[in-house]
Chain length 191, copies 4
DNA sequence: GATGAATGAGAATTCATTCAT
DNA sequence: GATGAATGAATTCTCATTCAT
C-alpha cells in the first residue's frame, strides 16, 4: 500500500507553501524554497502541480470556497439574522484559530486571486451579504446598503486578525469572538 | 537650471510608481515598467532613488508619517473623544478621496514596510489608539482593551475602502463617512 | 547519476575561468564569456559557484594554499638552507611549467585576494620566509632583514615568469631553473 | 591670468585618478569617483580627456616613457656597467620614493597598457637591457641571456616595491637601495 | 517516481558617455 | 567652460520550468 495514501504529499506541499508564502510573501518564496522545506527536489514538485502560479491559485480556491461553504452551513443552522451573523463570526474566529497561517494566506492573496474565481463561486463575502440582505428585507436590520453593511462586518472581524498577526492583539481569536459579534451587530444596526 | 523646473521629476516618479504598484503589485512592477510609464530610461530613474526597494520605502515612509500627522492634528482640533474619532475618520475618508491610489498603496505595502519605521515614528494606528485610550481613561468609552477597540475602528473604516477598491462600493468615501463614524462609535461603545 | 561522471563540471569552469581571467583580466571577463567558453548557459554556472567574486576567490584560495603546501613539503625534504631554497625554486619552476596559466592567475589576482586569506593560512611567502629566517639564525645566511631577503628570492623567480608571459623569455621555466637558484642564492648571500 | 596656468587641471585629474586607480583598481574606479574626488562634474572631466580608457593610457604612456628617459640619462652618466646599473637602480628607488602611488600605478597597469606602446618607444626594460647587453659584449658581465639578466635586475628591484606596498617592508626604498644594487649585481654576475 | 543540472528569459543595477541648458 | 540629468548598453544574478538519467 503506497505510503502517500496517508501522508498525502499534495497536502504537505500545500502546508509548506502556505507557511512560506505567509512568512516571506508569495513573490519572495521560490520553488526552491518550497522544495527545500519539504526535502524534496524541485523537479518532483512539478509532479504535483503544474506551476507556482497554479499552486497559489489552487490552494486559494479550494480553501476559500471550502471556507465559504462552512460559513454558509453555519448561517443555515440558525434562524434569526443575528443568530446567523453570530454563527458566521464564530466561524471566522474558529477558522483563524484552527490554522492562522492558512487564514492569513487567504487574506493576503485575495487581492490577486479573487478575480480568477468563477463568477458564481460561493464566497465568504456572498455568504455574509446574503444574510444581511435577507435581514434587511425581513426588517431584522434597518434599511441600508447591504454591501456597506457587509464590509462593516468584515472589517470588525478581519482587522483584529491583522492586529493579531502584527502582535498587537493576542493570537487567540476565540477569546475575542463575543465582543466581535456584539461590535458587528452594533455596527450594522446603527445607521 | 533643471530641465523641468515645475514638474518635479521625483514626484512624477513617485506618482507613476504608486500607480503601477497598486495596479500590479510591487513585486510584479519592474523598474522597466516605471521607466516606460514615464518615458524615461531605466538608468535615469536611479539618479532619483538608489533602488526599487528604497523607492517603495521612501514613498511609504513620507506619506505614512505625513498622514499620521494629519490625523493627529484632526484629533487635537476636537475636545471630546467622539469628536476626535469622528474627525479622524473624516480624515481617512478625505485622504482616500483625495488620492485613492496612494491610500491603497499605503494599505498594501504596510505589511512589508511597517517594520522599518523608527520605533517612535508617529503612525495612524498610534494616533487612533491614543484617542481611544484617553477616552477609556476619561470614561467617555467603556473599559475595554484599547488595542481591540482601535482595530474595530480601523476595520470599520478600511474594509469599506477595500470594498470600494474591488468595486463593491462606490469609490466616494466621503458619502459613506457619516455612517462609518456612527458604526465605529457603536462598535467601540458596545462591549 | 551526474551527467558527466568523469568531466567534473566544477573543474571545467575553473579552468575556463582562469584561462579567460589571465587573457583579459578578471574585471574584463564577464560571466557570459565564461559561459560561452564552456558552451553552457550563464544561469547554469551559478549552480557551481555563488558569484563571480566567489569563483575568483575560491580558485585562488584552493590553489594558493595547495601551492604553499607543496613548497613547504619541498623545503622539508632538504636539510640545508641552500638545499631548501633550491628545492622551493625548483617547485616554482615546475608549478609554472605544469600550468603556466594558473600560475599567472595566482600572480595577477594576489593583490585583491591576499587580504581575504585567513590570518594563519600557509602562503608561499611564509614558507620561503621561514626558511630564510632559519638560515639566518643558523648562520647559513648572513644577518639581514628576512623580509627583504624573501622579496629578493621572489623577485628573482617571479620576474622571469612575467618576462616569459610577455614573450621576452622562453616559456619553459625548467630550463632557467638552475640559474635562478644560483642568482637567488647570490642575492641573499651578498649583503 | 587664468588660474589654471599654475594649478594645472589636467595634472590634478591625473593625480586624483592615479590615487583612486591604485587604491581600488582601474576597473573599480568610476568616472564619478574621479569627479567627486576633484569636486568637479563628470561632464567637465571629458573636456580634459576623451575617455576613461584614454586617461589611463595617457597617464601611463607619459610617465612610463618619461621614466624610461630618466633611466637612460642615469645610465649615460656612468661609464662602467656596474656604475650604470647602480645608477639606474638608484633611479628606481628615487622614483618610487618621490611618488609611490604613481610608481605602483605604472606597475599595476603595465600588463594592459604595454601592448599599446609604439614598437620603438623607449622603456625602462629596454634601457636596462641595453646596459646589460653592452656589459656582456664588453666582458664586464659573463656571457648569458641578456633578457634573463634583465629580468633578474627587475625582480630584485620591483619585488621589494611590492612587499613595501603590502607593508612587509618599510615604505622607504632609498634605505634599501645599496642592498638592491649589490643583490642585482650578484645575481647578474653569478651564472 | 525522483533527481538536480541546465536553460532562457528577464530582473535590478551600474556606468561611460552625451548633451541641453 | 561647467553642470548634472539622461541614455543605453552591458553586467551580475535569479528563478520558474524542463529534461536526461
Amino acid at each position: 500500500m503506497p505510503r502517500h495514501r496517508f501522508t498525502n504529499t499534495r497536502d504537505r506541499i500545500e502546508t509548506a507553501a502556505v507557511h512560506l508564502f505567509v512568512d516571506k510573501g508569495v513573490a519572495d518564496t521560490t520553488v526552491r524554497d518550497i522544495a527545500r522545506a519539504l526535502e524534496m527536489s524541485e523537479g518532483a514538485l512539478y509532479r504535483h502541480f503544474p506551476s507556482k502560479e497554479q499552486l497559489v491559485w489552487q490552494v486559494f480556491e479550494r480553501r476559500y470556497i471550502e471556507f465559504a461553504g462552512r460559513l454558509q452551513k453555519l448561517a443555515e443552522s440558525e434562524s434569526s439574522t443575528r443568530g446567523k451573523l453570530a454563527a458566521m463570526i464564530r466561524g471566522f474566529c474558529r477558522a483563524y484559530d484552527e490554522n492562522p497561517r492558512l487564514f492569513r494566506f487567504l487574506l493576503f492573496v485575495q487581492h490577486d486571486q479573487l478575480g480568477k474565481l468563477a463568477q458564481d463561486a460561493p464566497t465568504p463575502v456572498e455568504a455574509v451579504r446574503m444574510v444581511i440582505a435577507n435581514g434587511i428585507a425581513s426588517g431584522e436590520l434597518p434599511a441600508q446598503n447591504p454591501d456597506l453593511a457587509t464590509s462593516l462586518v468584515f472589517g470588525v472581524v478581519l482587522q483584529p486578525v491583522q492586529f493579531a498577526a502584527y502582535g498587537r492583539l493576542p493570537a487567540d481569536m476565540g477569546s475575542l469572538c463575543d465582543r466581535l459579534v456584539a461590535a458587528a451587530w452594533a455596527a450594522v444596526t446603527t445607521v
